[in-house]
């Protein structure tokens, strides 16, 4: 659990900081530039959800490793209003804020693993992981 990068998210400028930090960590882990773009885009969407729906929160970036692979974990955490129906929020085209509503399903497609926990009035935590495959680096 060492060297976790924490980026506080309060404004649109923090979105840019979070995605830049994500991209540079992805490069350090050995992700290709193309994967770095996918990861940075996913972080941008997650950080934007925090600013739009919860006002404030945090993006946590971390290296992960299992027996065969290395990867990156992105956690987007906020203590905002929470999502009433997380299943509905994961469907394309769903939005409660008049945005395109593509955020979460899009992030699911950009990353390899995706998990969402949300409790009304308590907040939302999204955990997304992307693994670097050894065969096509």
């Amino acid at each position: 659990m060492d060297d976790e990068i924490r980026v506080p998210i309060h404004s649109d400028q923090d979105i840019v900081v979070a995605r830049q930090k994500g991209r540079s960590l992805a490069a350090e882990i050995g992700f290709s530039s193309g994967d770095g773009t996918l990861i940075a885009t996913a972080i941008s969407e997650l950080a934007r959800n925090i600013v739009t729906y919860a006002r404030a929160g945090e993006i946590r970036l971390q290296r992960i490793q299992d027996s065969a692979r290395r990867g990156i974990q992105v956690i987007a955490h906020d203590s905002g209003p929470g999502i009433v129906d997380t299943q509905q929020a994961l469907r394309d085209g769903f939005s409660t804020s008049g945005s395109l509503g593509l955020g979460l399903p899009g992030v699911m497609r950009l990353m390899d693993e995706f998990q969402i926990e949300s409790e009304q009035h308590r907040g939302t935590t999204v955990t997304a992981r992307k693994w670097k495959s050894y065969n096509h680096s």
Binding site: G34, T37, L38, R48, S99, L102, G106
Partner: protein, 120 residues
């Protein structure tokens, strides 16, 4: 960081930098629409060659700008979307719909020239 807008004949060229915030994008929207009116421009090029992430907000705002400029009677073309950015946009499900795009500045200018001439 504010997006610089250059005037070249009847075309405006906005060159977007890497670390583009939402506020920068909204500022670009206001500045471009104003300048199109002030300069009586016929075409606008938004060069996103340096932009490393095009998320839902950025693509929605660019699409809005293109529509506003079209309402004014001018044409907008987005140039220089990087292959990696294009890939991420498609994965994310983003569409620019009927907004014109071109490979680079040169092709964007050629596209606008063609549009402007055929409109006369």
């Amino acid at each position: 960081m504010e997006v610089p807008i250059l005037k070249q004949g009847d075309v405006l060229i906005a060159t977007v930098q890497e670390a583009l915030t939402d506020a920068d994008l909204l500022h670009l929207r206001t500045a471009l629409v104003k300048q199109v009116v002030r300069c009586r421009s016929r075409g606008v090029i938004v060069d996103v060659t340096s932009l490393d992430v095009m998320d839902s907000f950025a693509s929605r705002t660019l699409r809005d700008i293109a529509y506003m400029i079209r309402l004014r009677g001018a044409e907008m073309v987005i140039v220089g979307i990087q292959p990696e950015v294009a890939f991420a946009m498609v994965q994310l499900g983003l569409k620019l719909e009927d907004v014109a795009t071109a490979l680079d500045l040169e092709e964007g200018l050629a596209h606008l020239k063609h549009k402007i001439e055929s409109a006369v």
